[in-house]
Amino acid sequence: MKYLNILMLALLVGFASCDDDDAPEAENEEEVIDQVILTFSPAGAGADVVVTATDPDGDGAADFVTPAIALSVDQTYTLTLEINNTIEGESITDEIREEDDEHMFFYEFTSGLFSSPSGNGNVDSRDGAVNYDASENDADGNPLGLTTVWQTAATAQSGKFRIILKHQPDIKSATSTAQDGESDIDLEFDITVN
């Protein structure tokens, strides 16, 4: 058997002399989101609370890392999201802003974390309150949600804070929900208000 294999191999190598050995060209991973930065800016004085969620290995099996968020009690914060593709050094935020008619951020949080908005956000029900920055509304007047305003509870709280970015081409409307379209981002953070 061994000799036959060698003979055949020799034949093959003869035949295969036209082999090319080029690797695929490097591609820009334009789709990838591997960094989401949450910046909570307090109204008035005080330092920004910045939380950076990152992906250690792209499409690999390792989990996305979502550090905990720590906010102060009874404080109004403006949350701005920055979404990046660090592999390409590219800001996805602008892309989302340009396609505001197809994208919308939905928020879900443990009841009682915030005095405004009350409730638990608009993931379960689109009617749930979220303080969207109306200046970001798309041409149809529907919110985008890169910028939102949050007033924390007067007493210490802890719970979860979840951000979902839905891609809803042609179906985004005043009534489209977090269950419509595809999730481009769906991250959950531990949060404390102290």
Binding site: A23, E27, E29, D59, A61
Partner: protein
Amino acid sequence: MRPLLILLIFFSSLNAFGQKQSCKDDCSCTVQGKVVDAANLKPVPFATVQLANTNKGTTTNEHGEFSLTALCVDEFDLVFTHIGYKTLTHHHDQFHNNPVIKLAPDDLILESVVIEELSNANAFKSNTTTKIQGKDLDQIKSSSLGNVLSSISGVSTLTTGSNVAKPIIHGLHSNRILIINNGIRHESQDWGQEHAPEIDASLIDEIEVIKGASAVKYGPNALGGVILIRPPEMELTSHLHGDLNLKGETNGRAVDGNLLIQKGYGNLAWMAQGAARYQGDMSAPDYELTNTGMREYSTAFGLRYHRKNLDIKSFFSYLDQELGILRGSITGNIEDLADAINDEVPDFTSAFSYSINTPKQRVTHTLLKTEAQYNFSNSRLDIAYGLQMNNRQEFDVRRGSNNEVPSIDLELTTHSIDAEWLHPIVNKWEGSIGGQWLYQDNNNIPGTNTIPFIPNYNNTRFGIFITESRPLNPNVEFDFGLRYDIQLASFRGRDSRNDIFRNEQNFTSVSGILGISKTLKTSGKLRFNIATAWRPPNIAELYSFGKHQFTNEYGFYRYTLEGETLSTSQVLDNNTLDVKNELGYKFIANYTFSNDLIQIDASPYVNIIDNYIYKAPGGISGTVRGTLPLFIYKQTDAVFAGADLTINYQHTLRWSSKISGTFLYTKDVGNNDVLFNIPPNMVSYGLSYKTKIGEYEWGAKADISYTFKQYNAPRVIRPEVFVDDPDYNPFIDNNANFDFTKAPDGYALVNLASELSLQKWVFSLRVLNALNTSYRQYTNLIRYFADEPGINFQLGVQLKL
């Protein structure tokens, strides 16, 4: 070892044969054959058989048989005439002996045809085979190849919506079955479950399915069976004639057409074919299936040249398909999946449209083939060269301008040379020896803006085989065959950091077949056949990496397991991980019985596959899109056992019935688990009526089939479980495979067909899913999201030119 040596010696001594005395020298050439009525296949006695341009001739006997002896030529035209029948001229050579001449009655649309012993007929008489041809094929050939094949008992389809259909033979599909299109192995990106064969069924003249493992004649991958596809035969002596088909369908508002024309000039013949299909969104009984339109264009040309002992055929075909995939079948993460499963109507459902957006596939396939046959006085040499170019683009739903950019863009070029020598009969041993060489180059076309899902690769494969059969007594025939293959592969890809990795690897295997066929006294026939087959792990099984539909999957070389922890940070190769070839051992028995009243075809089988490669759940991962289940490739041993049964019964001249059923049981023996996507059992009954009034022929048919629920399906873990507890690990105390929904319930389907023939015209009406039943098919990959299409009226007209 020894048979292989003998084989090599045989091969090298090829030139020594074939110089024997010709029958022309001593006027000892002969021809025998049989003349039958093309409509009812009854023998035609007293038909005239004439050697063209001579006065030599004879008539058929009461069994329709004729024989001409003492001829001084070994190639000639035979003219068949009989009152009430269309005259036929047939070009005969001595290497296609025993022709069956089907004479068409004058007043019928049928063309007279000749059935020669097929040149690329399957090698073994002990093989279990089924054919679709003629009228049966005409009626269904506007649908996809997979759907055409599923009319054969034991063959079903693995679909992705209604446009993408892959054949499944006895539970095996994709890389585990083989398609031989026009004598050439069809080479495409067939590792993907949602990659259908790029072959237009409307250009096909005849399909034959070999249900046994057939690696010996055809090479790797033939574990489940082989599908042989043949284009129209180019008759050397024929007037300009052809066939035009047009069809309209209500579901999908599709129009479909194909045209065939051909002509022969004695030693030259040609044919040309074209086909097109334009289809919009299909609809289920309760809603539109948005983005399920398709476009298909195909064309083929053939040229045949015949001179003395030489027969040369060239063939070119081109197919271009754009296939829409249900928009609502795309989900981002496991919560989207839960929502999509629970939605009554899929997301993104909108009004009917012909437009095709993402997700979609665009594929083209070009085949160029030249084959030469040289007849020695008592042996024959066949050589065929094939060039195939396959391009596949897959468009996912993506952000911004990337929506217009394919996320998979692959170009596969395959050269192949097949050589086979049908040796002289030696001591009643009849058979052939041959070799195959194949070279493949697969490249990712740059510009997808995503790291390639599979790497670039090259394959070089060489195989040699011998097939022999010998009658043991007048009723029993013995077959055997042996084959050796070697495949040399080189891979070049990019890891998730865009760094290049390379690997070279070779795969070898020996395959064999043993069979016996026995003709019974009672018009019955028994066949037994045991065969081995093999295939190397395919490119996706070795190297796939990343998101595919709503899961992340990792090939053998792309993950490591340390205890329970899955790591995907390094790229392995064959030095660090031994991935074995899949080896199949298939035993199949076949009983056929046929008389004027009843035809029975029954085949039980068992197929044992060692190192069966499958995708197993490997855990879950938190991604930016939320939780995604992970799948990894693993190997196990699997068993497939089942049986197919078909019975035709002719009640009266006009009424006939057909009963068929398939049964299949499978098991993952290695893990004591069940396998995914195994077609459920099915039974069907069909009732046909045929009559002839003057020049009109009218036929009608009703089929009812019942598909059972797949009882042998994996356990169910609803995606909500993962949503409610993001840290849920489904394998903590049970390592078994799971599915996100249970297998769909059983369902009954009714199809109706009616056909009216008048001289050159055939008008047909078919009603598919006549009761507009809402159902889901277990082997449809989008069964989570939507029902199958509802009622479909198909109105067709056929004109024989």
